[in-house]
Amino acid sequence: MKTIYILWLRELLRYKRSRVQIIASLGQPTLYLFALGFGLGPVFLKAGNGSYLQFIAPGIIAMTILFSSVFAGIGLLWDRQFGFLKETLIAPVPRLEIMIGKTLGSVTVAIIQGLLVLVVCLIAGFRPANWAVIPVALFFMVMVALVFGALGTAIGSTLQDMQGFQLVMNFLVLPLFFLSGALFPLNNLPKILDAITRVNPLTYGVDGLRAAFLGSSHFSALTDAVALAAVAFVLLWVGSYSFSKIQI
């Protein structure tokens, strides 16, 4: 228990101290929100889909959590590079506890980032349909953070050096975001795109957040929750397995 707590605390301390990084990581979502929300807004409205800002705000929040949690998991690479990983792996504590502590730390940091972006959205004019559903929204934020934090851990345990990082970014993280329905509605999609969005876990995260914030969604909130829980379960298992196999 104490092991989990101290490693969770470490992630938070590191986060708190990286002010520049916090600001930098908020810049991107803010840009998307303003450029797309306001830029494409009129077109979206004309097509009869309502306010685009309302539509993409949950998508941007999901994106923030996606980036933040995957990067936190890949932070293992930095720990390896700077040697700190040895210190944790050689300690007389089960690796699973180390992995849980780290993942919970990543999840917490990702949620904080998500909430900060929610505030930015509110400032930009985003209005949730109903404030009472904030706990539901939080639940979906945690699920997204868990799924992608675990994915990040799995990747971070497998990659040996920084070379693979760009690859992961371009061929995994960005496609996950762009092919998730964060930016466009899921109805009437071409067949291939429809199929891709359906296997992309982020789709269910974004949809769940929309269900919570706007009260309208493509799937049902229950479907979203079950899909995310199933993927989280599998990825946490894969993450722990690959973490347990790390050799220094």
Partner: protein, 261 residues
Amino acid sequence: MIHVANLTKKFGENLAVNDVSFHVQKGEIFAFLGPNGAGKTTTIKMLTTLLTPTGGQIQVNGFDPLRQQMQVRKQIGIVFQDPSLDGELTAFENLDLHGVLYHVPRKQRRERMEMVLKLFDLWERRNELVKKFSGGMKRRLEIARGLLHAPLILFLDEPTLGLDPQSRNQLWKQVKHLNESEGVTVFLTTHYMDEAERVAQRIAVIDHGKIVALGSPAELKTRTNTDSLEEAFLALTGSTIRDESATSVDQMRQFGKMWRR
């Protein structure tokens, strides 16, 4: 305390540790000396559960590092050759984290943290981020951390790397003190022969993954017919540079030296 029989480690085709056998007694200070790339760190990693051997048997205080990882880890403290601190945390936080990982109770943790920080002259700077420390201060903190949980067996992989004479003196004084007062068994490597001679009761010289000599400093000198451990070491391991990364200029310089002798 440490029993090693026919220990072997292969990295691909490279035989880093080749059929090594030795024993370390309880309460002994044992030094592992050898040129760069001889296999010292690799051996330590296998003894401390970090690396899986290709062949051979190991027992650390009766436990097998391969199958009884937790038991072995509870007995040992280690100062790695490479850095392993978290630069984004303070000295205090680094130690606290270590104390928690090694199950040191809170009250005792505070006391021991204060003790080791003062011992290595870091108490005043305990609340500074480690990334702002000088190289030697980081090294001192690594050593302090290795001692924090009062291990039964202490592994020191080139602990004095980058330390000033004062800190080195302090380190070896402490190591001797721990060894004499608490019976801590010490397994160390160093490239400074005077240090090995000063603290180690027995020395194993390893070269190309094989132990080429084992005995007390005096025995090694007698066996090689030399006056200093340094000369004994060179007699046992030759004087060509072993580091694969050594440039040809280095090698030429080395040859030049040999020629002039």
